[in-house]
């Protein structure tokens, strides 16, 4: 059963990948990529990577590709501008890619692989609990790093996308700008409010 799905999903993955790189229309390319991601999710399921499969669908196909589609929609005609395949170094590119693939095949076929059969794994292999535990114990650094990267990504998105709308810095050298305000002092702030309250009461 696993093998059948392997071949089917594999074929679908390869086919949709080829479709992505071949399509002229970026919208259709994005849709092909969604299909590609779905095939990969199936392959992950074959490999008992349940959480990864689901994360793939939710995050990749669900969020990232949607973002892609939003941008393609925003760009509209401009995305289609003057597309021509080929150009500089097309032949060399094909050769290089083919060479790498062939080398990998050669490498794989040459070696007497020790990994002909999958390892014995527990039932909880690939489950959210296992992975969550790993993230919070062995790979805590990766976890924190991810959060930082995502923060940076978010800021980058805002700045790149809507940077024109952010409030501008005042022109000129630092000295020419208006003097910075006084430091925030709580006691002064409270006294100021008392004064205002008294003046209000008085008025």
């Amino acid at each position: 059963m696993g093998i059948v799905i392997f071949y089917l999903a594999g074929a679908a993955a390869i086919g949709s990948a080829i479709a992505v790189i071949v399509q002229r229309n970026p919208f259709l390319a994005a849709l092909s990529l969604i299909l590609h991601l779905g095939s990969l999710a199936a392959l992950y399921l074959v490999l008992q990577g349940d959480f990864v499969a689901v994360a793939q669908l939710l995050v990749y196909a669900g969020a990232v590709m949607v973002m892609f589609l939003f941008v393609i929609a925003y760009l509209g005609d401009r995305a289609d501008l003057d597309l021509r395949r080929g150009g500089i170094g097309a032949g060399a590119a094909a050769v290089a890619g083919l060479a790498i693939f062939i080398e990998t095949v050669v490498a794989v076929s040459d070696s007497n692989s020790v990994l002909t059969s999958p390892a014995q794994v527990a039932d909880s292999f690939g489950s959210p609990q296992t992975i969550g535990r790993l993230f919070l114990t062995d790979h805590l650094l990766a976890f924190e790093a991810i959060s930082l990267i995502l923060l940076v990504g978010a800021i980058a998105g805002v700045v790149l996308g809507a940077g024109d709308l952010l409030p501008k810095r005042p022109e000129g050298a630092p000295d020419e700008r208006e003097p910075r305000g006084e430091r925030y002092d709580l006691r002064r702030e409270l006294q100021r409010r008392e004064h205002e309250a008294e003046s209000e009461v008085g008025a």
């Binding site: 500089i88 060399a92 290089a96």
Partner: protein, 640 residues
Amino acid sequence: MNAGGYGWLVLLSPLVGVAFNVGVGPSVSRRAVGWAASLSVLAGFVFSVLALIDLLGRSDSQRAIISTGWHWLSGGSFQVDASILVDPLSAVMLLVITGVGFLIHAYSTGYMHGDREEKRFFAYLNLFVFSMLLLVLAGNFVFLLAGWGLVGLSSYLLIGFWWQRPTAVAAAKKAFVMNAIGDIGMALGIFVIWDHVHSVDYATVFTHAPSQIGAGSHTANWIALLLLVAAVAKSAQLPLHTWLPDAMEGPTPVSALIHAATMVTAGVYLVARMWPLYGLAPDVSDLVALIGVATLTVAGLIALVQTDIKRVIAYSTMSQIGYMFCGVGIGAYSAGMFHLVTHAFFKALLFLGAGVVIHALHDEQDIRKMGGMARYLPYTAGLMWIGALALAGVPPFSGFFSKDQILADALARGDWVGYTVWGLGLAGAFVTALYTFRLMLLVFHGEPSDYARRHGDAHAGHGEGPFSMLWTIGVLAVGALFAGVLEIPGATHGMRNFLEPTVPAHLDPTGNQEFGTSALAVALALVGLYAAHALWGRRSDAPRRIAASTAPLEHVLQDKFGFDRLYDWAFYRPAVALARGGQRLWEDAAVLGSMNAVGSAGSWTSRLLSAAQSGLVRVYALAIAIGIAVLAAWLITGAS
């Protein structure tokens, strides 16, 4: 203080002058510098006299004093001390150098007055005196070589003193290059000496020479020959003589001091000093005499057609030194040295007198523009006649005694060399008289030319020249008159006896030989005087007619026997062609080419490499992919 100590003082005196000139000179007047320079040389003269007195007070065998200052060079077995040798031979030279040198320094204060670079002149002059003293006082071959080279340097500096003149600069270079040839000869000679005797000290070499270097051997001949090259170059004898006439580009005092009295006589001094070595190489000694004979003849003939007053005197110097070479070549060392002393007096007198004439005529040196100067410069004319008569060998002037001594010794020697010297020497006496009196008649007598008249009249009442110029030539005239006293044949033998311990006299002419020679010489001189008067005294057509009929001969003489042209074609042009070829091939092509190539290779490489920075992202990705493919292939095939 013994003679050695005085010797050091003599050597150091001119250096004091140089030190004063360099240290204090910039802040004092030109006159002060001139006088300080002159006085330093005068001090040297005083010390020379004191050294002489000390020497005379000793017995004959004690008269060679070697004074060692300090241990100078030390390299394994090569040891050289800073030592000077004071003996009769060097004492004679010291007196001549410092005495005549002082007079010429004093003369220069008048002659160079008004020249903007007078102080530099005196510095160079003092330097020259020091160099010459070093040469003469040297107690070993290394000091000799040092003095030899320094003298050549001083000559270069002084000939080219008026460096704004291209002719002067060219003449200075010519003199220096030819002197350098002599330096090479001397250095090689010293190497050969070292090779055989393993010492450069005079005393050691001279005592061991007969044993280490066999008489008449190849080695002896080579040593003598190489030293002769140096002597010939320095004394302007054939074939290295072409620099001396051109050296007249320098100021007249320089011509008098360096190119008459002292530097050019260094070659004679060298042969005399090295007499033990020349005694071991009789063939080369004969060569010395033959060179002298050839030079005196050729130079005398060329002097007949010169029109520049200083060049006539220069060729005369060349000729007279030829006589000296004859003397030391046949073994008559004291005769040669005696002629050196008398020649210093009368030749310096002639040059300085010519300087007075030139000064009065505002730097005009062409004798065709002169004439009748005697009426404007009577004192100078009279003194120059003394010099001329001494030069021609007329008694009782000093030149008569010294020149005839050489000729008599040649006759006494008897073999073909001696007879050649005697015969051509007498003929040379005739030619000498001829050109000397031609000069005197054309310059001082007859009708003055317009140029001379103009300048002479302008000067009348002024006096003939600065006083410093006049009293100095007076002193020289006294020497020219009376120096003959030192060696009157049959009567006094002062010079010969004094020099006996260091340069023994081998030849002893009989009374008849001496008398006969002298009579012939005087007769020839008087015939020459008459002939000169006939040809040039009355400004007749005769010279022109004779010149027309002997046109080819005159052409040869005017061309100075073709030596300059020969050297130009044989040496100068090839050297220039080689230099130009070298510049084109090596400097432009190889050196500059390689430097440019390095630069352009750098920029070519950078242009090539910058093609990789195309800015195209896809190309970068392609490059990465190719890299991965290659790397993977490499890893897979297991290459190490």
